[in-house]
Amino acid sequence: MDLRNRLGRVALDRPAVLLVTAAGATRERLAVEAELARRRWPRASGPAAADLVAFAGAPAPAGDDDWAERLWNGVPAPKARVRVRDPEHAAHALEHGRMALLVGAGTQGRQEQREPAGHERHDADGEHPPQHDGHTASGRSEHDGHTTSGPSEHDGHGHDAHQDHGGSHAGTDQGHHGHGGSHPGTDHDHHGHHMGGAILGLPMAERADDRDGLRLDRLHVPLGPALPDWPAGLVVRTELQGDVVQRASVEALVPPRSSRPAFWSEPWLRSAAGAPVTVDEAARRRCAAHLDSVGRFLAVAGWRDPAAVARRARDQVLGGASVADLRSGLRTLTRRVRRSWTLRWLTSGVGVLSSTQAQRYGVTGPALLADGDAYDRLLVWLEEIDRAVDACDDRSPLASHALNGPRGRIAPEAPASRTLVDVLPVLLEGTEFACARLVVASLDPDLDELAPQHARGGHAHG
């Protein structure tokens, strides 16, 4: 056992981190990502591969589905979780997660491995020390909530609650509610083996017309809110046949009412509210926002190398690196991405959004400018990045009319991301899963913008 413990300590010294971002927590996400890059901890692509779950912000449940809790239940022991409620506490929280893991690895015995529920609670005990939580009071209440939920997990399916939710890593059951009895065809009853409803609590598939003229089984799979490289807070409820999205509806987990303006459109929102904002501040934010989107898009397209470069550049831009430094690095990146004919071959023709269609939905910004497919939108981002870098040392004040943020026109009552979310279902129908991911990444709506705003000067914090 001793050797095992020691091995566990060595292994968990650099845990694999699953970063789960709640809607409205872009600042926290960026802080955690930068910290992870600095520590060179590996990133987990899903709960199964994770040791440490880092929640950026407070994950809001989707409907009655507490997806964050389900996700946590799907992480195999030894595990720990931390909540980052404040960008400044990212490093501290991660360090704390690591310590909790190391302590857990030290006390972990064979019996505990057999009893996952008990082990979870053990971890939970060590995971919310008040000092790094930002909100002591809410941290405490979560703690309580977790403890009471322990036994119920136990008599349910142990920690196996993760299972059915293929899509989101966070539970799909409620995606099936109301589908049990609604059979589309009457001949359905012929199929003795083929009823709707649920077995073992798992929803069964049912049939529906599809793209290829076959009435095949469809699965209700919600995508998000915790997929890797996925806009925080977005839930796309899909009906999959094989891996083809036959129908999609979008549900945005609206971030909690907050006094902070959405991070990516902050300069323009402030300018609209009458505060003095300089051009370089806006340019840097636009540049970083597009780099974030480009990084996400390239990661979804499976091109990890430049995706990592884009993210590093994003952190540099936000960190205030000098224009000269930025320019050479960014030029190399944009040239490399533009020159890749394979990327062009793979992403052109995906998610075509003509400008007329875009206008009909009220889309503004890069998606309207691109007037085309995912690749065109990527090109627009790259172009805006190049242009924004040049403006990064312009200290003149930003003109306060005709404000265009990274995702489109700045209008607090009708944010640009709302139109992007609205246009999604149309673009997603009939696409294959990988294409659907590309479409979402190429629009990259920022759900922070949808947060209802407090009046200025409310009780600010963070």
Binding site: G185, H190, G213, L214, R215
Partner: protein, 101 residues
């Protein structure tokens, strides 16, 4: 080991496959029964080659024919299921029989 033992194993496979092909309602399962029967044929042909006439390649050719038959049967089978499914949403033999009425 001798020819008889191999042939008995082949016969067992063939009969299990036959049972499946006769009883299964689903066309796909029926095809699995056929595959199993052809597996028996392959084994019998190989055994015949080895124990009766190894000098000529006829037994081997028979195996090749059986393997091809398996591939053809699979391909046609699935194409027919797809066609039936497309037109009538049927994947069971009984229902296909009802279509005639």
């Amino acid at each position: 080991m001798n020819l008889e033992v191999f042939l008995i194993v082949a016969a067992a496979l063939f009969c299990v496959g036959l049972f499946g092909a006769l009883t299964q309602q689903s066309i796909v399962m029926l095809m699995m029964g056929l595959e199993l029967m052809l597996g028996g044929v392959i084994l019998a042909a190989g055994a015949a080659w080895h124990y009766i006439a190894p000098a000529t390649a006829d037994g081997q050719v028979l195996v090749v024919v059986a393997i091809t038959a398996m591939a053809v049967e699979m391909a046609i089978g699935f194409a027919v299921v797809t066609a039936l499914f497309r037109s009538r949403e049927v994947d069971m033999t009984d229902m296909a029989a009802e279509l005639r009425e």
